[in-house]
Symmetry: C2
Subunit: 197 residues, 2 copies
């Protein structure tokens, strides 16, 4: 028996994300990937069933890693403000340090390959964030809201900030850096919106 070369797998994953980010999903091909990763195209089919499987698996793995990083130090019994801030800053940190992974996942998110990743990610979030939200409501730190309203207010602004940051030029045609100040200011508004009155 010959052992699998772990470096090859890592190279495949990294180059898959890099190529899809730089050339787009439609510009991505198995032969290009093989060349970029320094392996034969046939090798790809040892690790993955086909092209779709390769992209979907890579997306799932990157998403899970992103989620687990964003929950570092998180505990569902935390106060709402504390728990939400922790998630915001963990995510922002991950985004700045793993821009390729994030942009890759964003591209897949809006393709027709995201159904499976979505199911997996959604379930994980439900399991970890459900109790947190329930606790916060019970403690009257958070208004009871339909999930989609809650999510739209609590996280959509963060993702929008990141999208601004990812795009090279913002509204004012100037480079927009995702600073701590901007994050804190936006988060404060979100908390204000969600606080029971």
């Amino acid at each position: 028996m010959r052992a699998r070369d772990e470096n090859k797998i890592l190279a495949i994953r990294e180059k898959t994300m890099a190529l899809i980010v730089s050339e787009g999903l439609d510009g991505f091909s198995m032969n290009k990937l093989a060349k970029a990763a320094g392996i034969s195209p046939a090798t790809l089919y040892i690790y993955y069933k086909d092209k779709e499987d390769l992209i979907v698996q890579t997306c799932i793995q990157a998403s899970l890693e992103m989620m687990s990083e964003s929950l570092k130090g998180f505990d569902p019994t935390m106060s709402f403000a504390e728990g939400l801030a922790l998630q915001w800053f963990n995510r922002a940190k991950y985004f700045t340090q793993h821009q390729n992974e994030v942009e890759f996942v964003e591209k897949i998110r809006y393709s027709n390959l995201y159904e499976k990743p979505r199911q997996i990610i959604t379930q994980h979030f439900r399991e970890t964030l459900g109790p947190f939200v329930q606790n916060a409501i019970a403690r009257k730190e958070l208004m009871p809201l339909p999930f989609e309203v809650y999510w739209s207010i609590a996280f959509a602004p963060l993702y929008q900030l990141i999208k601004f940051h990812t795009q090279t030029r913002s509204y004012h045609n100037e480079k927009f850096e995702l600073s701590d100040d901007i994050m804190k200011q936006t988060l404060a508004l979100v908390l204000k919106a969600l606080k029971p009155s």
Copy 2:
């Protein structure tokens, strides 16, 4: 001289959007499009320089239409709450009536073809929304905020609601309908966040 057949152009546009929504950007091809629109592939090159041009132009046109619909009845001297509500409901109405167009633009938005559409759309928004925001701040109806913070709070939640609506199944594994109630509830939170204290 022979006149251009306007129906052909409309068919090309409609089928471009329908095909990209249903089969994804990577599953889209000029030959498929020609067959779907009932014309010869060569005809596509009378109207568009190449495949990229076809997608980009279609995206720009759809985006401008969407924007102009969302600004129907809008006036930059409106009160902030009134103007924002008008835009939210115009957009929601357009989304439900033109789901294909919206999903198409969302797909292009996250591809590598969006640079040009983005510039055009961003400029239009700046021109129409800039004065509105300045007026609102002058009247103390809106906190003065960096643009990216303002946008992240004012519109990102709406787009998130629409994404939930577009996806077949939401967090709770149930079909999520974008109801007036949900919209109003979310908008109220947004206004609460943005109101000067």
